[in-house]
Subunit: 328 residues, 2 copies
Amino acid sequence: MKKHIYIYSPSSAVRDKPAFRRGVARLKALGYEVEIDEAALTAHQRFAGDDATRVAAIGRAAASKADIALISRGGYGLTRILDTLPYKAVTKAIERGTEFVGLSDFTAFQNALLAKTGAVTWAGPAVGEDFGAEAGPDDIMEACFDDLVGGQGEGTGWRLPARDGDAPTLRNVQDAVLWGGNLCVLTSLLGTPYFPAIDKGVLFLEDVGEHPYRIERMLDQLLHAGVLGRQRAVVLGQFTNFKKVPNDRGFGLKTVTDRLRTSLKKVPLLTGLPFGHVPTKVLLPVGAKVQMAAEGRDVFMMWGHRHAHDDAAHSAHGSHGRGAHHGH
Amino acid sequence: MKKHIYIYSPSSAVRDKPAFRRGVARLKALGYEVEIDEAALTAHQRFAGDDATRVAAIGRAAASKADIALISRGGYGLTRILDTLPYKAVTKAIERGTEFVGLSDFTAFQNALLAKTGAVTWAGPAVGEDFGAEAGPDDIMEACFDDLVGGQGEGTGWRLPARDGDAPTLRNVQDAVLWGGNLCVLTSLLGTPYFPAIDKGVLFLEDVGEHPYRIERMLDQLLHAGVLGRQRAVVLGQFTNFKKVPNDRGFGLKTVTDRLRTSLKKVPLLTGLPFGHVPTKVLLPVGAKVQMAAEGRDVFMMWGHRHAHDDAAHSAHGSHGRGAHHGH
């Protein structure tokens, strides 16, 4: 039986309709049954419909009984409606087997849900930018997505950038809750009831279009709030598409990560996670317990079989984890 | 005796040296004795010297015994050094009569100081952009600055924009702590020990170069954190220099303020405060108790004589408050 994918729009309006159509066509070509929410292409101002429309769309995604509920795109819109999201309906849908997948603005949904009910969602692709990419979808992204749909994914792995070779050795991490996503969106939840209270977790972060000084200011906020120091590891994904300015005079991402590593002291700061606003992205279970280990510059993050997040650790060596060592 | 102004650089490096020199010359022409910190024109990457240099500069400003300690410019740099600022020395300097004046990135200093010691500082001009403005300094800004130096300022006033004529009537506000500043910088303190815990205060906010959707996301964060609902009034200054995009389709600042007014319910949201990244800015005592009242569209905010912040309310009618009704 074909796997069922439900596409809906919880954030910004879909403007690039050719990319959306390419993405839908690609998902069908991959053998999935694709259902498109009635409001997926609605527009109100910047948004994919007004607030009530988008809340209702999330409710329909939860009621769809699909295998995967996939966002059309990110953008902006979820922080506006955090007070009215159908957290219980989404959590029940997840318990019944629907996996919610998305990124960027979706970080607000994922972490608010984690804070409210503890339900697990997936940081992963969107229809337009990923499956509908003009250059064609990324192989690793599609393979990771297929693993999720088929219940096969057990983890991921990547190689630390050589310039971070002096990172503190990652001690074995067991049963740590993986959480995070887009740095700016996650930070915009800090101090609110929608920010998860995760101790001894693994926090992953990415962002797009944010200058390193703003990235640093957000990381400092998480640091000063005590959030970073409480984690077992902080993992940075891809920070892309920002414009350096002449005033930087050598201040850049490397300055930020070097300084943060000093501030974090005993908490390992790992970089190079293949996730963010880039084609090659793995899927990551937000709210699931993960194990982490490193062998030299190779990092492994394992979460065991789907719907078995609380299982004992799988050996990194024996796993079927999908990695991106050769991705980019 | 000439009043003594100490100029120092706690944030970004001074790149526009002609503007800085024009500002210094203007302050001298106004009859002030101007002392320039030894590191005022230092540069390290984006910053006016490395972190230790800027912390030391703030210490020298506190030790200067000047009437006014004035920032050369804003930019970025203070959130990096909040852990090491000489809060006690600055507070003692303020008790001795030195007034600290600045804006933008300086918001972090002002609100962290308020959170730590309760000391009052002034939201106001910077040397380069204000006194050194190529078109010449703004009259109202200079008059407000002169009021502060001379201990004459008792308050300010402005006219609400006509489009906000349906704003909820401002009830008389007594003994409310005025606080705030740059929205982005203030929000970057939320959840940290540097965010003031002010109940029943008057929160003022401004920003530059932030798209309305980002302004809304920050305001929503303050709202969801319970900060806005706890205030007696929220006052918006000038939000300037952002680029609208075709995707906005009617979403703009007006959308943001209309929606926020609905969310705030009983807390009045007042707009049009002449403060922000604009030439015409009044000076505002961050951390002082203020009284507020309105007559039609005219709003008055009174703080009484300098060093008498806890005095009983002055009548708005009898005051010498410097307003900007005709400013812009």
